[in-house]
Amino acid sequence: MSGLKREASGVAKRPLLDVSGLACRRGGVDLFSQLDFRLAPGEFLLVKGDNGCGKTTLLRALCGLTRPVAGVVRWRGETVWAHDAFASELHYIGHREGVKDELTPLENLVVYGGLRDERYSEADCAEVLAEVGLMEASVVPVRYLSQGQRRRCALARMLLSPAKLWILDEPYNALDQAAVAWLSNKVRDHLLGGGMVVATSHQPVTGVPDPRVLELGR
């Protein structure tokens, strides 16, 4: 089925994300420059490189959080810097999960839905929490959860949102093997459904068809 879908969406395979001449600098050091690529629906871009080579910086520039020193990132032809319509099609998970310590996973989901103006029903939330294995933990404040459970909470949030572009900074961090496999499946499904993913990982990524790899060198 999904194979079919892919074919069907082949017509629409116009790249939506368009990066041209991108350069970022941190503390006076040029991390990368003259970066050009495009990403079309169904494509997966894996950014690789050593610690500190600028992967996180690149991902944040793609989100419009960091302003590049040169070049431009475009989504559907418009630049992404502080661009709210783009944000509704984007889901970003960074090194810090962005879940609130004081709230329970369930509350975190509800609050987040409200922020994005997406109304998640209690049942949906419960279902997705069960899927990431936070069923019992869904009423415990996140502060008490284990590191992996926190990450799972952030992933649950991603599953609820209808975003088309996922930007994931080392999503496998702190996840156990079952969760890694599960996440790979989710990514594959997302791609087959016409979504797009940009991710970094120091672990090998398996279970995802033909990722395009971008090596950031020093």
Binding site: V140, P141, R143, Y144
Partner: protein, 269 residues
């Protein structure tokens, strides 16, 4: 605290046993409190003579003063339980301290409220910054702080330990606060009204006061124990005896208390 000291007599108070003890005790305590309160109010309102200065308004004293006393007493009790909790890791002591605190806060608030009602006819204002009033207000905040700290931690065990520590720190401070406030008040002569000494007591007044004090005592014990019972049930989670207790079928078998004893002793021998 590395070694595991044990107090043998607490072994008798396993949660199921405690549960039954409370069930038996509480009706008597309630009964006693009611009888004493009726007697005290009767003596206070019908037997005791009116005060030559204040007329009948002084009769609020029969609630005001016992409440004030109980507030202080309960704080001391709470601190004692807190010490037992931290020093011997007896969790039931934390349950007791936690259960007494709302009653203590209630009593202190009652004393402040009746006092200020009393103040309106006698001083012409509901509030002055008098030493006794101020230190009672501080006491109320010590209670509230304890309760708030207990509630703010979502982990009961941790919250309990932190709150016990606070109760002890507070208890060390209570006498210091009390005397410094007294001193503060004598330092500033400007204040025009002070809490008068209790009206010279007729014997009937005194006995009414005593009756009411004991009535409050029994009430506090009844409410505190009942609350402790419920809290102990909650914390014991799904222990077998607790489930039976919730279904109202606690029987007299001392045998079936496998998980129960963890309630009492934080750590097993």
């Amino acid at each position: 605290m590395a070694t595991d000291r044990s107090i043998p007599w607490f072994k008798f108070l396993s949660p199921p046993a405690f549960h039954q003890l409370v069930d038996r005790l509480v009706p008597w305590l309630w009964g006693g409190a009611a009888v004493l309160a009726v007697a005290g109010l009767y003596v206070g309102f019908f037997v005791a003579p009116p005060d030559y200065q204040q007329g009948n308004s002084y009769r609020i004293m029969f609630i005001h003063v016992p409440a004030a006393w109980m507030g202080m007493l309960i704080y001391l009790l709470m601190a004692m339980y807190a010490i037992i909790h931290l020093a011997w890791r007896v969790r039931l002591a934390d349950v007791m301290a936690r259960s007494l605190a709302p009653t203590g806060a209630l009593m202190t608030a009652l004393a402040l409220w009746t006092g200020s009602l009393w103040g309106a006819p006698t001083w012409g204002t509901y509030w002055v910054w008098d030493a006794r009033l101020t230190s009672s207000l501080i006491l109320l905040f010590l209670f509230l702080g304890y309760l708030a700290l207990h509630a703010a931690a979502s982990d009961r065990e941790k919250g309990g330990r932190a709150a016990s520590l606070l109760a002890i720190v507070g208890a060390v401070n209570v006498p210091i606060i009390y005397f410094s406030v007294k001193w503060w008040n004598t330092l500033h002569q400007g204040i025009s009204v002070t809490v008068a000494d209790a009206p010279s007591m007729a014997p009937s007044m005194f006995s009414a006061l005593l009756l009411m004090t004991f009535a409050f005592w029994l009430y506090a014990a009844a409410v505190g124990l009942r609350r402790a019972q419920v809290e102990a049930l909650e914390r014991s989670g799904d222990a077998e005896w607790a489930r039976r207790a919730i279904l109202g079928r606690v029987t007299n078998e001392p045998g079936g208390t496998k998980t129960g004893d963890t309630m009492i002793r934080g750590r097993r021998g």
